[in-house]
């Protein structure tokens, strides 16, 4: 029994540890770490589509927006009376995150079936189109604030929850990849025709992965909304999508740990460069991102880790695989 949930216990412990560490340091570092964690969840979610399944989506911010709005709606309007106990707050948040992830996953399913018939650059543009449509809809739906957005979302996101969900998504990804389902998915990326000819239901997997990715992005969106307590449609534009894409590309498309590392690196880097920025008076962040994207593509198109994981690269004891 303990063996079965060993991985989950480890993740919980790490998340608790980080929570205790983060609350002891300044609010500024807490902000950076939590946002880095949320970005990492987004990067892991996009890596499912762009790295593992070999498709290319630019719509991730759309799923994030759906999750953010749906979960905020639940915690603001379904549970209107403010809950003061920490357990009550966390319970409401977890429930609203599940709703946010669920709604996002459902939309992912409905969009995925038609859109995933496309490949490569066409899929990229179609998913970008999906993102724009989500934004237009949000601008025009008054019950979630329209163009003004939603303010006063309960600020209940804790570092523990962020890191627990991040850890959980990494663990799930790892175990998925080492199962028959993961092998089927990678075979589709490697050679779709051959995979189908071996009896792999390719469309089923592509849609399924798109849904998983949407669920994770939706939950990350929920965490994001409940951390900042204010969202509006323009928070989830093409820039947000591109930031996530850059993380996945830099880390190495197909590498989950690479995506996480790149997410932390790219969230912390602009903060580290703040003095330079202050001195020159120029917002270097996006220029830097753009240059990273171009140089990675020209110098090392597979990203830092390629398809490998950090634990494949580091020296380690002999593997004792079951």
């Amino acid at each position: 029994m303990i063996n079965k949930i060993k991985g989950w216990i480890v993740i919980t412990a790490i998340a608790v540890g980080l929570q205790m560490m983060v609350t002891r340091i300044s609010g500024y570092f807490e902000d950076i770490l939590v946002l880095a964690g949320i970005n990492a969840i987004l990067a892991v979610s996009l890596n499912w589509v762009n790295g593992l399944s070999g498709q290319f989506s630019l719509g991730q911010a759309g799923f994030m927006a759906i999750g953010a709005y749906a979960s905020s709606y639940v915690s603001m309007f379904v549970f209107h009376s403010p809950n003061h106990s920490i357990w009550g707050q966390q319970g409401v948040l977890i429930f609203s995150l599940l709703v946010g992830g669920g709604v996002s996953g459902l939309v992912g399913y409905l969009i995925g079936i038609p859109v995933l018939r496309l490949k490569g650059d066409y899929l990229a543009i179609a998913t970008l189109g999906f993102l724009e449509i989500v934004k237009v809809v949000l601008y025009n739906v008054q019950c979630v604030g329209g163009a003004e957005g939603l303010a006063g979302i309960p600020q209940t996101t804790t570092p523990f929850l962020v890191f627990f969900i991040l850890g959980g998504s990494v663990l799930i990804t790892y175990r998925f990849l080492h199962s028959r389902h993961g092998r089927a998915l990678i075979s589709i990326r490697e050679n779709e025709v051959a995979a189908a000819s071996l009896g792999i239901p390719t469309t089923f997997y592509k849609v399924q992965v798109f849904v998983v990715s949407a669920v994770l992005a939706g939950m990350a969106g929920g965490l994001f909304a409940h951390y900042l307590s204010y969202i509006n449609p323009s928070s989830f534009g093409i820039m947000m999508t591109l930031e996530i894409v850059i993380m996945v590309v830099l880390g190495g498309m197909g590498s989950t740990s690479g995506s996480v590392l790149a997410a932390f690196f790219l969230t912390i880097l602009p903060e580290a460069l703040r003095p330079v920025q202050h001195w020159t008076g120029i917002d270097l962040r996006m220029v830097l991102y753009a240059l990273i994207l171009i140089f990675v593509m020209i110098m090392r198109p597979q990203g830092i880790l390629g398809c490998r994981e950090i634990w494949d690269v580091l020296p380690r004891k002999k593997k004792n695989h079951p």
């Binding site: 079965k4 175990r175 998925f176 025709v193 189908a196 071996l198 398809c307």
Partner: protein, 275 residues
Amino acid sequence: MPGNLGCTPTEKEKSSMNAPIALNVENMTLSFGGIVAVDDLSLEVKTGELVGLIGPNGAGKTTVFNILSGIYLPQNGNIRVFGKPIDGFKTHQITRAGLVRTFQNIRLFKEMSVADNIKVGFYHENSYGLKDAFFQTHFFHNQETQLMKKVHELMELLELSAYQNKLAKALAYGDQKKLELARALATGAKLLLLDEPVAGMNRSETQWFMKTILNVKQRFGLSMLVIEHDMHLVMGVCERIYVMEHGIKIAEGSPKAIQNDLRVIEAYLGKKSRA
């Protein structure tokens, strides 16, 4: 449908014994914008038979395979695999119906290990779901252990054991061909379509490979349809041969009959020329 084991006779195999025809194609036609690639083709492969499909380059042989494996949709025609109509089936459904193919230009999963390539072939062997994978249940571990045994058996049979953890792209050409065969066998399909299995191999490799093919055919009770240019080989092992030219079947019969067929000789050598 229960997973059919690759190595022991199963329900499926028994039922295929009852249906004497492994593959039955009637009046199959496919044209690409005015060019008729396959014209009113009929052919059949009896259970346990090894049938050759030959013809000059561009005759439409690979197109036939692409239709049979569901990659192209024919405009006309009926296809039955072990008696079951597969019209409108997707590729993976056709494989489940018992037809699997290899490719002329090898299509391995290059970044996956040899063992993992074969495991993909065994996809339907296991039945555990996502939940079992996420929580690493006993069911998951048992099935994965069983699977590994089967993978080892196949690797041993095809002399691939030494490369178990090597990436597929790192294999030599001949070994890649073997791996593609192993992967196809893993699916448990009983009708094998081989597209130029020994192209690019030298004499001894070819002989080893053909011996292996006959061996697995015997062992797993397979039926086969083979495209091959190596006439020596085709005439040597095939029980029956179909000859195509410009999408049309121009001859069929035993190797002996085909060798003496005037139309076949013309198709290969031209009417007057001497090769």
